[in-house]
Symmetry: C2
């Protein structure tokens, strides 16, 4: 029987979406009162506070810039992070190239160091989890090639182009393929994390956490109220 994962980590970059990170992470905070000794590392390029505002707003994507932002404090850099059991890659506007000529494309300045980190961690990970456009970032590793995955429905026209070798699922709250779990946009990551806790620790603990957090779970991964209709 597989040992429960203990060492969780989440990658941050300027322009991460707050709930992509804080939804799943707060489920883990409460899980930590139900199971022994889990840790969570918050990992970024440097130890500077990381902002929800991108290094430069991708202006040509039809959405004006946020006028509010917050910063989270990393605990590790990509160099100092421990080997993890579970790595979470969130989405956010920071993953898009801000150059008008590259509208809708991945920003290599942001993504390349994360791709290198995922590839270094993956061989010893028990699970890799993505939220929202975090699947787009992760697709650039090649680890999703030939696998089923989903992503943010609000960027469905651009993210799947980042790696056509992935079997992108247009209607799914989240998708599990092997040890890689990918969720749809923003708030769907919280449902993925509850399903993940149930997978590892059983329904009672998942339900106890949901009741404490007063959270109504989406429990069916295939039922996606925001899914994209694909004409046949």
């Amino acid at each position: 029987m597989e040992a429960h994962p203990k060492k969780y980590g989440v990658v941050l970059y300027d322009g991460f979406q707050l709930i992509d990170v804080c939804g799943p992470v707060d489920v883990l905070n409460v899980l930590s009162t139900h199971t022994d000794g889990i840790s969570l590392s918050i990992i970024s390029e440097t130890m500077n506070p990381v902002s929800t505002f991108p290094r430069k707003w991708p202006g040509d994507m039809g959405m004006p810039p946020f006028t509010t932002s917050q910063t989270l404090q990393p605990t590790h850099t990509f160099e100092t992070a421990p080997q993890l059991d579970v790595l979470i890659v969130p989405g956010g506007m920071g993953c898009f190239d801000p150059e008008p000529a590259n509208v809708g494309k991945p920003d290599p300045k942001v993504i390349d160091p994360i791709v290198t980190f995922i590839l270094a961690q993956y061989p010893k990970l028990q699970y890799l989890i993505t939220v929202c456009t975090g699947a787009g970032i992760t697709s650039r590793t090649g680890l999703l090639d030939g696998k089923k995955a989903t992503t943010f429905k609000g960027a469905w026209k651009v993210i799947p182009l980042w790696r056509p070798q992935v079997e992108w699922i247009p209607k799914a709250r989240w998708v599990v393929d092997g040890n890689i779990w990918t969720s749809s946009g923003v708030c769907s990551g919280t449902d993925l994390m509850f399903a993940f806790v149930k997978h590892l620790h059983g329904e009672k603990i998942a339900n106890d956490i949901a009741v404490w957090m007063e959270y109504t779970r989406h429990e069916d991964s295939a039922l996606d109220p925001f899914g994209i209709e694909v004409s046949s």
Copy 2:
């Protein structure tokens, strides 16, 4: 016609619950792309990063300590914060007195400076919003006396005792009384914030934000899956 509020602020203290803050705040981040020039101040006693772990864990409340925690960066102290239009007071384990003799009681070291700040802000606030045990903190101001309010259902046996002059509602996702909006526990604050956005900016903007965030709203404030049954 009342002008739309522009200046939002959220109070932080060690031991705030991550989603209490980040759920509503991320709705505001996305709202900021739909309306002109809103700001959000993150306000604490000092400019030091504020942790989701309390200054001391309240050990006698039947829940072992979190083994994971995160820190958010304030933008202002209680002294430097601007006059706000909307103030949000989140809940969290940090509001409980960690002394075993005072189990379930408010921690004056944490709460008193917040109470002072709320009272200084309230006369010029357009709205006061609480999430989870933030209603308990806010009740200590006396501003909820004679008003309807709700709070975290997981602490229903203790929080209403903090201020019996409040008409505590045991079954409500959130409650509006005058210009004070109080939500139930943890994740219910996100539903309150969507309802608040709808109240201010209309259903279309609230729905557009929910679709972008892939969030299924609880839209009925009276429908509370985690409400307390009161025997008559």
